[in-house]
Every structure is written in C-alpha cells, then in structure tokens.
Symmetry: C2
Subunit: 194 residues, 2 copies
Amino acid sequence: MKASGNCYKLQLLLAHLNQPYRWIDVDSTAGETRTPEFLAKNPNGKVPLLELEDGRVLSESDAILCYLAEGSRFLPADRWLRAQTLQWLFFEQYSHEPYIAVARYVAKWLPADHPRQADLPRLRERGYQALDVMEKHLATQDFFVGGAYGLADIALYAYTHDAAVGGFEFGRYPAISAWLRRVEAQPGFVAQTY
Amino acid sequence: MKASGNCYKLQLLLAHLNQPYRWIDVDSTAGETRTPEFLAKNPNGKVPLLELEDGRVLSESDAILCYLAEGSRFLPADRWLRAQTLQWLFFEQYSHEPYIAVARYVAKWLPADHPRQADLPRLRERGYQALDVMEKHLATQDFFVGGAYGLADIALYAYTHDAAVGGFEFGRYPAISAWLRRVEAQPGFVAQTY
C-alpha cells in the first residue's frame, strides 16, 4: 500500500540494496487485508507482507527490514550496534508510529466529522513526545546508530518525513529536519509517492 | 518494576540463562521514570532499562531480550527463525501489549471512576483480536517459532499469563491455555510476583 509508511520502509531499503522484487498493491482501507486469502498469509491482517519465492511469508515491517538487511551495511553484525538498532525499531513501533502515523491517517483520510478526529490532540501530544526523543538524540549524532545510516534511520524516516500531514510542525526540531535531509541525500534514496 | 510484564520478560529470560544481575526497582506510577537521572539514561522515560557494567544502557524490552539471548538457544542463529522471532516480538509490542497490558493496567491500577475506564471495551476488542491470532498459530504448533521455546514465547507469555486481570476470558482459547502451561513447565521458569 503506497500510502503506508510501513510499506514504504521496505521500498526504501530494497532500493538501497538494489534488490529486485515484485510489488503487489493491497489496500487495507478497501478491506483487502481482511480477505480469506490475505488472512491465510497474515492472520493479523496487516501490510506489509513479504512473500518469498518458495511461498514463505513474513509480516511486521521492522522484522522484514531486519530479514532483508541481514549481511548488509544497513544492519551491522556487531552485537551492541544490532541491539541499538532494535531499540530504535521497537521505539518506532511502540512510541512513534501509533501516534505520528495514526494522526496522519486520521487527519488526511478520515472525514472531518469522523469521531476519531477527537483523538488528534492526544495523538499529537504523544507524537511530539516521540519527536522530542529523536531531536535529543540527533542533536549530537548524524544518524541513529553508530554514526552511520541504517535500518533505524529508514524505519524512523518512513513516517517522520510525512508527519506534517498529521499536523506536526518541525520549527522546533532543527536536528530532525537536518537528519531528514541527510537521509534524502543517501545513494539510492527513493521518495515515497502516493 | 515488578508489576510490569515488560520487566518480567527480562527476569524470565535471565533466569533461563542463569545469568546474574542486579534488579533496581523503578516505579513509573510514582514518577520514577521521569526524573532527570532516569531520563538521562532513557530519554523515552520507560522501564525496563538494561545498564551494563561499563555504563552503556539499552531500552525497549524486546531489544533487551534479543541482546541478552544472543548466542543462546532462545534466539536461533538461523536467519529465517530469527526473522520469525522478530515478527512475533513486533506483533507483541504493536498488536498485543498496547491492548492486553493496558487493559490490565486500567482495570487493576486506575480508580473505578477514572475516565480511562471508558477505554476498556476497545482495549478488550483489540486484545481479543491479538489472542485470536495467537490461538490460530498455537492450534498447530507447540511454540511460536520453529517448534522450540524461545524469545517469542517469553515476550508473549509476559502479559498473556496475567490477561485475566484485564478482563480477558480464556475459555475460547484452549491452545493458548495449553501453551501457557508448557511455558510454565520449562526448566528454570520463574513466575511473576508483584
């Protein structure tokens, strides 16, 4: 689903890896993740889903990132650097995505009179808390882990770059803003289009 | 924090690994994760937090599990088994804990007239969706990944075993109920006490 940052993460990594793949659009807003065929592959009914040529399937965007990046410079072999990468990936899924991605979804895709519009103030409050944590880290470091661009940057870029759509303002986040530009300057970078 | 399933995960893994450690109680409900001292170690203000002897710190319970389990039978070296382990760890943090752990917290620790009691129906609806996914998987497999007890079981056991406190009923989950007993029968298992 092109509009999903969780799906875009994989697009971005695969572009960096220069790895060929086939993209199949699945629109969760049209119920396509709730069909019997899709649920047979991912009982949790979510995109993205990675399907290997032999039919094995893997869900959860950040688990797929780790699988695809194994052996590449985007997921270091060093035990401590890997641990820090995972720390930021879990931060992204627990403290960042549920607020920044969901605020973006509510603000852009739900009607102005939808009851979930009432969630926006709390989503933004929590989203800003996540951005505060990122700003603090990036104030002294160019990238999230070990001074080099990697999976943590890819995962956090996916929804941060488009957070303005959810009503987040970046004037108070100069370090995040500079980091977004550094990510976009990486060789092989592809922008999200939807 | 003994009552936290996210902290208990580490207790359980460390017991299996027979690895010595020092436990420092930090009570988030008493503001102890929001002190300047704590925030200097984890700017995201959450427990658990792992501190190594040299002062390096790591946050995010499931990232800490992966770090501690490296090289042990609880986190297989095989690329596909690792990917599946991560899939279930991200499932736990995104689709399970935010509903099952939070319902438990609201039901047990917040006053009966607290406004967040109104969240319980939705928390339970989503929590049951997560339990449905687990039940389906465990209907044909003894453990979550590769037929052997490991990190995915430890992470998912942490809040599932105590979900009744949040109002979840297990009558419709025979496979989960049998799996809980299998986890408790593992050598070195320690129960959560709080």
